[in-house]
C-alpha cells in the first residue's frame, strides 16, 4: 500500500444500495454492498448474470441516469464522497481519475471517428493539450498497450481493427489520463481465448507500468484465479463472500462460491 492511501483506502464503498422503480414498485438491484480497494490492487467482482455487477460499475462512474433510480450509501474516492457529486465535478473525475472499459470493444468506439481521434478527445478534455501533443501521447499509449505500428493504427477506424487491437485501444483510451481506478466490465468476454489471455496479461502489467488499481468484473472464475488479488462474490445484489483470491479458492465459505468454483472447467 502506498503512503497516500494509508489514511483512507483509494476507493471505499459503504452500504451501497441501488434500486430501480418500475410501475410504482421499487426493485432493489444492489443491497448494502460494502468493499474497499487499495492502490495497485486488482479486485475481482464475480457473480452470475443479472447479479448487479454492471449496475454497480455504472454507479461508481456516476453514469446511471435512468428515471426512478435511487442510490444510497457512500462511495468515497481518496476520502472524498463522490455519490451525489454535482454533474460537472463528477465529469472532471470521470475518465481522469476513474476510467472504465467495456465488454464489447466492437461497439464501444464511435464508428465514425478514428481510434486516435477518440483517444485525443479524452486527453484534450482533461488536459490542456494541443492537437499535436495529444496525438503524440496517444501514439505513446497505443505503443505501451502493445499495438503494433501505433502511428498508423491511430488513423484507422474502429471497424478496421481486430477485436484484440480494439480492446487494447480501449484500454489505452481509459488509461490516457492516468486514472487511479480502472473499472473493467467483462473486458475479455467478447474476445477469443488467446486474445483474452493477452489482454489479461496486459491488465496485470498495468499496475506496475501505470500504478492502476483495477476493479475487474467477470463471471469467469478462471479469469479471477489468474488475475485478481482479492475477490468479491456477488449473489443477487448482495456481497456473498469477500477475501483474497487464494483463500476464496481454498476455502469457499458461501455455497454459491463453492458452486461457482465447481463450475470451472478443469
Amino acid at each position: 500500500m502506498s503512503t497516500d492511501t494509508h489514511s483512507h483506502p483509494l476507493l471505499d464503498v459503504r452500504d451501497l444500495c441501488i434500486s430501480f422503480t418500475s410501475r410504482g414498485q421499487s426493485i432493489p438491484i444492489v443491497e448494502n454492498m460494502s468493499f474497499s480497494m487499495a492502490g495497485r490492487e486488482i479486485l475481482g467482482l464475480v457473480g452470475e448474470s443479472g447479479s448487479g455487477k454492471s449496475v454497480t460499475a455504472m454507479a461508481l462512474m456516476g453514469l446511471i441516469d435512468a428515471p426512478g433510480v435511487t442510490i444510497t450509501g457512500s462511495v468515497r474516492f481518496k476520502g472524498q464522497e463522490i455519490l451525489g457529486l454535482p454533474a460537472r465535478e463528477f465529469r472532471a473525475l470521470r475518465g481522469r481519475e476513474i476510467a472504465m472499459i467495456f465488454q464489447d470493444p466492437m461497439t464501444a468506439f464511435t464508428p465514425v471517428y478514428t481510434i486516435g481521434w477518440q483517444i485525443d478527445e479524452q486527453l484534450r478534455v482533461h488536459n490542456k493539450f494541443s492537437r499535436k501533443q495529444a496525438r503524440t501521447r496517444t501514439i505513446e499509449l497505443l505503443a505501451e498497450m502493445g499495438v503494433p505500428d501505433p502511428a498508423n493504427t491511430a488513423n484507422r477506424y474502429p471497424h478496421q481493427l481486430s477485436g484484440g487491437l480494439r480492446q487494447r485501444a480501449m484500454i489505452a483510451m481509459a488509461l490516457s489520463c492516468n486514472p487511479s481506478v480502472l473499472i473493467a466490465d467483462e473486458p475479455t468476454t467478447a474476445l477469443d481465448v488467446t486474445v483474452q489471455a493477452q489482454i489479461l496479461d496486459l491488465m496485470r502489467k498495468l499496475r506496475t507500468t501505470h500504478g492502476s488499481s483495477i476493479l475487474l468484473i467477470t463471471h469467469d472464475m478462471g479469469v479471477v484465479a489468474e488475475t485478481c488479488d482479492r475477490t468479491l462474490v456477488l449473489y443477487s445484489g448482495r456481497v456473498a463472500e469477500e477475501g483474497t483470491t487464494q483463500d476464496l479458492f481454498a476455502h469457499p465459505q458461501h455455497p454459491y462460491t463453492a458452486a461457482l468454483l465447481a463450475s470451472i472447467p478443469p
Binding site: R94, A99, A108, T110, V112, Q122
Partner: protein, 324 residues
Amino acid sequence: MILPLLRRMGQTVFVLFGISALVFAVFFATPGADPTARIAGRNAAPQTMEKVRKEYGFDRPLPVQYAIMMKKLFITRDLASYANRGELVVPEIMRAAPVTLSLVTGAAIIWVVLSIGMGVLAAACKGSWIDRLLMMVGLIGISIPVFWLGQVVNLITQNRYHDTWLFSWVPGLGYVPFTQSPLAWFRALVIPWCVLAVMFVGIYSRILRADLVATMGEDFMRTARAKGLSPSRVLLRHGLRTALITFVSLFGMDFAQLVGGGALLTEVVFGLPGVGRLTYQALNSLDLPLIMATVMYSAVFVVLANAVVDAAYLFLDPRVRDVH
C-alpha cells in the same frame, strides 16, 4: 476513395441512359400512335406534320429516332414545342430551373437548420414536455397540406393583413431573379421558403429525434460519457454525427425530387415560374417535347443527387468506404 466515386459515375451515366431510353419509348415508340401528330400538336397542318416527321426522323428506325431526340435535347438544344408555337424547350427549362433551385435551396436551409435544432432539443429533453411539444408541432407540420397552407398564407399576407405593418413588405406573387435584385429576390421567396419547409421540418425533426434516441442507447455513447465529456459534446459530436448519416441520405433524395419538379404545388400557389409548374403546363397541353425534356431534367437531377448522396455517405461513414 477515388475508385468508388468513378464507379459511381459510370453507374450514373448508365442509369441516365436507361431512363432516357425508357421515357423515349413511352412517349415516342408506343405502337399504334403516330408520334408526329403528338409533337405537331392537335389539328396540325399536313406541311407541319411533314416537317416534324423529317426533323425527328420518324420515318427512320427507332435507334436513330432516339439518337436524334438526345441530340436535340443535349447537343443542339433546339428541341421545339409545336404546341407552343415553336418555343425552344431547353432554354425554357433553363429559365425555370433557377427559380426552382432558389425556392428549394432556401427551403432546404430552413428545414435542415430547424429540424436539427428541434430534433436535438427533443432528444436531449426526451420524455419532457419540451419533447412532446416539439414532436406535436412536427406532426402538425407534416399534416398540413402545402397548397392549403400556401393559400392561407397568401390570403393573410397578400390580402387581409397586407396593409398592416407586419406584412406590408410582402411583394406580390411572382419571382424576381437574384441577379436583378438580391433583396427583392429574398422578399419574393421568403414566404414560399417557409411554407415549403414546414412539412419537411416536421418529418426531419421527428426522424432525427428517433434516430438520436436510438443512438443514445448505443455502447459508444456510454463510452463517450465515461470519458468525462460534457453532455452536449456527447450528444452532438458522437450522437448527432452518427445519426446524421441517415439524415443526409434522406435529405439528398428529397432535395433532388423537389428540384426535379416536386415543388409543383408551392410553385403554383405562389406563382413562381419554376420547373414543377412548367411540367404541369406541359402535361396539361400534352406538349410532348416539353414533357420529354422536363422528365429528363428531373431524372438527371435525381440521379445526380443520388450520386452526391452516395459520395456524402462515403465521406460520412467510414464503414461504407471500406465495403466498396
